[in-house]
């Protein structure tokens, strides 16, 4: 596949914000963001938020926490929580520095204190892609958590910029699937998908809602024309409106780009997703 220079594509990124808390998924998100930033020559900001809810909880004299691995109860001490947050912040900063060095980026680290979702929604106003892990909770060994994290859920609802929720590490040549229903958001999704596919060298597949054959053909024709103008070949297939997740299940790893309106409940999706408003 011939990859056109990313700067020629309509949705090259200028500012990418990635939320980092040193959890494994957030580190994968940082890695993916750095790769995108490098190829788009975009500015990368890593956002670390000290959760005030947690600090308040830790200040209770009789607060307890329950270990996920041992199921044992421990007293939650404020200084331990504070220290742990410091360590997480330091780890996140180190990860950013390391990624910036490896990818040759100028990256910024920003630490804020507040409620996580509102802070990230606020940050999304000043960027053209907000990247975060699917869930902040450490994954259970067997499979990944199906339920979307509360923060991710809030982002999908309220973020100003497209939200990239990472479920797996992003690998080159992973296919990029884009849902297209002719809406303005779908058009933006198509541009974004084209940029992501070009950058990851992955195949591009257009997913058309199969409401009635005539309109589906028309939509497919439109989408192909747009991509052809960008010099990107693509395959296409239909999906029933109720099951956008089905085409994604054919791949172990894939990336779905879709207008927010077309997205099924995110729990049903087996892959990483970029929601476009």
């Amino acid at each position: 596949m011939t990859t056109p220079p990313s700067s020629d594509l309509p949705h090259a990124f200028h500012r990418i914000v990635v939320a980092v808390d040193a959890s494994p998924l957030s580190l994968m998100a940082l890695e993916a963001s750095a790769a995108l930033a490098q190829r788009s020559h975009a500015e990368l900001t890593a956002l670390f938020i000290e959760d005030v809810n947690l600090l308040r909880l830790a200040s209770y004299p009789e607060a307890y926490s329950y270990s996920l691995t041992t199921a044992q109860r421990r007293s939650l001490e404020a200084d331990v929580v504070a220290q742990a947050m410091k360590l997480q912040q330091a780890a996140a900063r180190r990860a950013l520095d390391d990624a910036a060095r490896r990818f040759g980026l100028t990256a910024r680290f920003e630490a804020r204190r507040g409620l996580i979702a509102p802070e990230m929604i606020q940050a999304s106003a000043a960027c053209d892609l907000l990247v975060a892990g699917w869930s902040g909770r450490p994954g259970l060994p067997l499979g990944r958590r199906a339920r979307l994290g509360t923060v991710a859920r809030a982002l999908l609802g309220k973020a100003a910029a497209p939200v990239f929720l990472l479920r797996h590490s992003l690998r080159s040549h992973d296919p990029v699937l884009v849902a297209y229903d002719g809406s303005a958001a779908a058009r933006r999704a198509l541009d974004l998908a084209a940029a992501l596919a070009a950058q990851s060298d992955g195949d591009l597949e257009i997913l058309i809602p199969a409401a009635d054959p005539a309109s589906a053909d028309e939509l497919e024709h439109q989408a192909r024309a747009i991509l052809a103008a960008l010099g990107l070949p693509a395959t296409s297939q239909r999906f029933t409106a109720t099951d956008l997740a089905a085409p994604c299940r054919r791949y172990d790893h894939s990336l779905l780009v879709a207008p927010l309106d077309l997205l099924p409940p995110a729990e049903d999706l087996p892959c990483s997703v970029v929601a476009v408003r």
Binding site: N53, L57, Y64, Y66, A71, R137
Partner: protein, 807 residues
């Protein structure tokens, strides 16, 4: 009566060409039977035929007697009529990988099993991923995963939902989960909490306590559910794999259903493939292959599937009979096999695929031929061979393992039953040494094939020898030999055997002679090898080896080494010595002198005194002393001191072949009768004065002849040899011809008295009934001199001793 010299015909027995009824050897059929080794042939036939334990063969004989070629000939013939032995392979023992299984397969079936397993792995590598990518499998897997996810999510969601109902948040902290009272989206601070009404605080506390309990229960139940889900996934994988594996293995299992060992192995393979099906889905274990790293050409060669390989140790499909293996480098590993190691991250690792068979494996069911001295030179090899023969099985182990020297992780491959006939070849000394010092040797090598180095020179043997020479020239594409050449070869074979009635069986010498003669014939442009070419080959070989001999002759001629060949000297005689330089030996004269004076009956052997004389030489001197005493000191003590020496001898000497010579010198010195220097003497003597046979008689005579010839033969020169050595005479042509012309003489001597008469020209003299010898005889003079010594001693002895001696 003086002894007559030997007639010319006694010095060299020509081969009568009428015994050779052919023009050239091209007319003769090949000789298929071994020559002159009837005893060894019988032993080899017996050794090959008998299959009982311990009846291995040791072929002993001097180097060059054709042991190896004869053994090859007989073993190959015997092996052709036997069945090819079974194949052996090593396969993985899935329960105990350090103890690989050995499988016995019918001849030629080893490669088939190996190929079958390779094909199976390739097929599994294609089929299993396809099965695991099927919609059916994916759906079933997703259902199991979804069930667990649902359970875990529900467990938290239930707690979370109940918490939310009561304005309580379930928070993830860096050290686990915690519950906190909320207002809106924010956690209440402790201060705000305190400001709440008491009832509300209490309600919060109660709810939190109850939810904490639920959370704890949910967290505790998770690992169990996770285990159950894993087990379900594992069973699903196995069920999914099982069908494909069974289907793909069906042909292989049917092919080997009658073979218990292979069937058992295939069962283990099936279970292992199902157990480790993940390897076929992702052979690299999720790791991307290094772009420059080696890419296995076939899946069956992939490191993840080494354990399904079949290590073909030995296959006999291409053999028509039993194997005959000649091991030229019998180290311990090359005999019993070895387990090689590969270095990985600084550690030495091994597995069953690195087992290499040895010559015992290749020869199993047949014959293994080893040169004994090579075997004994290799550390641990002899013990390893004995262990294998004694135990009847081949156990592969490293040289240091049985001594506990190495502690690296190694293999203990299943031993392989051994049924082999081992043939050792070697010098007789090795055989006798092993028999003497190693008790196991006689138990394991019960058959000795004793190769003789000579055989009788009969008419039949002469004709067989002609066929042998002809066979050799044909095999090596040399020119055919004329019967005259064959006759000369026969004569040379007698010379090599040092006996006119024998022929040498040293095949290496015969082969070299024929090859060298062919070369000289080629130089001459002749089409056939004539007698003169054989003679040229003998002379040229002698000349090439001749440097030391010619130097000695030169020094004698120049007077550096003092040897008289004319005149007469008292107490001085020409002895004869043989020098051996590798396979070339020659004789040369050596002056022996004797001085006497009154003394206490001692004959001083100067060679022994300076430790240059060997024990046999000392024995000879003691015998001649005994002879002297018994003849001359019957009436009184032997009042003599004599010293004997090999003049200008700077190396050690041994052997008793000069004892008669020394006795002549002693008698000359005592009798004051001079000895002829144009004669040389060889022969040992016994206590009765009889002259006995010695070795190297031809070389000795030729050695003195060369010296005399260089100074000019005048008919007076000659050599005294023991009469019992006459049958050993096969002298050089020029010596025999000089004798025929009366220029040189060989005297066969039976007694010391005969010899001394020849040397001094004076009668030896027989004692009369009183023990007195005739006047003027040698012995009379000796006795008189000894009496004179006695008188001198008595005159000079102190009074007491003088009375004792006179009484």
């Amino acid at each position: 009566m003086p002894i007559a010299p030997l007639p010319a015909e006694a010095l060299y027995r020509r081969c009568d060409e009428s015994l050779l009824p052919f023009e050239t050897t091209a007319e003769l059929p090949d000789l298929s039977e071994p020559f002159g080794q009837d005893r060894a042939v019988e032993a080899i036939r017996f050794g090959i035929g008998i299959r009982a334990h311990g009846f291995n063969l040791f072929a002993l004989g001097p180097e060059g007697t054709g042991k190896s070629s004869m053994i090859r000939q007989y073993l190959t013939a015997a092996a052709t009529d036997q069945n090819a032995p079974d194949d052996w392979v090593y396969v993985n023992n899935f329960d105990k990988p350090h103890k690989p299984w050995a499988l016995r397969l019918p001849p030629g079936c080893g490669p088939e099993l190996k190929k079958g397993m390779e094909t199976l792995v390739e097929d599994l590598g294609l089929a299993l991923p396809a099965v695991f990518e099927s919609e059916e499998y994916r759906t079933r897997k997703q259902v199991i995963e979804a069930q667990f996810k649902e359970y875990s999510d529900n467990a938290f969601a239930t707690v979370q939902a109940q918490a939310a109902e009561h304005s309580i948040a379930l928070l993830r902290t860096p050290v686990g989960f915690a519950l906190a009272p909320m207002r809106g989206e924010e956690v209440l601070s402790p201060e705000d909490f305190q400001k709440l009404p008491e009832d509300e605080q209490k309600t919060f506390r109660e709810h939190i306590a109850r939810l904490q309990e639920q959370l704890e229960q949910a967290l505790k139940a998770l690992p169990q559910h996770e285990r159950e889900s894993r087990e379900k996934l594992r069973r699903l994988d196995q069920e999914t794999a099982q069908g494909s594996v069974d289907r793909l293995m069906e042909n292989l299992r049917r092919r080997w259903q009658d073979h218990e060992g292979v069937s058992r192995y295939l069962d283990a393979v099936r279970d292992d493939v199902i157990e480790h099906v993940g390897d076929f889905l992702d052979p690299d274990g999720g790791e991307e292959r290094h772009p420059n790293g080696p890419v296995p050409r076939k899946l069956s060669q992939h490191p993840a599937f080494r354990r399904y390989q079949v290590n073909l140790l030995v296959t006999n499909g291409h053999h028509k009979g039993a194997p005959v293996v000649f091991e030229d480098n019998p180290t311990m590993p090359s005999l019993v096999g070895r387990a090689e190691h590969i270095a990985q991250f600084g550690a030495l690792l091994t597995d069953f695929t690195l087992i290499k068979g040895g010559s015992l494996h290749r020869a199993n069911g047949g014959y293994l031929v080893i040169e004994a001295h090579k075997l004994l030179m290799q550390p641990f090899a002899w013990e390893a061979l004995k262990r294998a023969l004694r135990g009847g099985r081949i156990t592969i182990e490293g040289p240091g393992e049985n001594m506990g020297l190495l502690s690296t992780v190694s293999l203990e491959p299943e031993p392989i039953p051994l049924d082999v006939k081992v043939v050792l070849t070697g010098e007789p000394m090795l055989y006798y040494t092993l028999s003497h010092y190693d008790p196991e040797f006689s138990e394991l090598f019960k058959v000795a094939a004793d190769f003789d180095w000579r055989t009788e020179r009969t008419e039949a043997a002469i004709q067989a020898y002609a066929r042998l020479a002809g066979t050799l020239s044909r095999q090596e594409k040399l020119r055919p030999l004329h019967r005259g050449a064959v006759a000369r070869i026969i004569e040379h074979a007698s010379r090599l055997a040092e006996d006119v009635e024998k022929l040498s069986t040293h095949m290496a010498s015969l082969g070299d002679l024929v090859r060298e003669a062919d070369y000289w014939a080629g130089q001459e442009g002749a089409d056939i090898v004539e007698r003169r070419h054989i003679q040229k080959a003998i002379d040229a070989h002698s000349f090439r080896s001749d440097r030391v001999r010619s130097h000695i002759l030169e020094e004698i001629h120049r007077g550096t080494v003092l040897i008289d060949t004319s005149g007469e000297v008292c107490g001085q005689i020409n002895g004869l010595a043989v020098m051996e330089l590798g396979r070339f030996s020659f004789g040369h004269p050596s002056r022996i002198t004797c001085r006497v004076h009154p003394g206490k009956g001692e004959v001083l052997d100067i060679e022994r005194e300076v430790e240059m004389g060997g024990p046999l030489h000392s024995k000879g001197v003691m015998i001649l002393s005994a002879f002297l005493a018994s003849r001359f000191a019957l009436k009184g003590p032997l009042s003599l001191s004599a010293s004997l020496v090999f003049e200008q001898s700077y190396g050690g000497i041994d052997g008793d072949s000069a004892s008669s010579t020394e006795l002549y010198a002693l008698l000359s010195a005592l009798s004051e009768l001079p000895i002829r220097q144009n004669l040389a003497v060889t022969g040992s003597v016994n206590q009765f004065g009889q002259v006995q046979a010695i070795g190297g008689v031809n070389e000795k005579i030729e050695g003195f002849f060369d010296v005399c010839k260089a100074r000019g033969l005048d008919g007076s020169h000659g050599v005294l040899i023991p009469a019992s050595n006459v049958k050993h005479l096969m002298l050089r042509t020029d010596v025999a011809e000089a004798c025929a012309q009366g220029l040189f003489h060989i005297y066969p001597v039976e007694t010391i008295d005969q010899g001394i008469e020849l040397l001094t020209g004076v009668e030896a003299g027989l004692a009369d009934e009183k023990g007195d010898f005739p006047l003027g005889s040698v012995n009379r003079r000796v006795a008189a001199r000894l009496n004179a010594f006695t008188r001198i001693l008595m005159a000079n002895a102190p009074g007491e001793e003088r009375r004792d001696r006179s009484s």
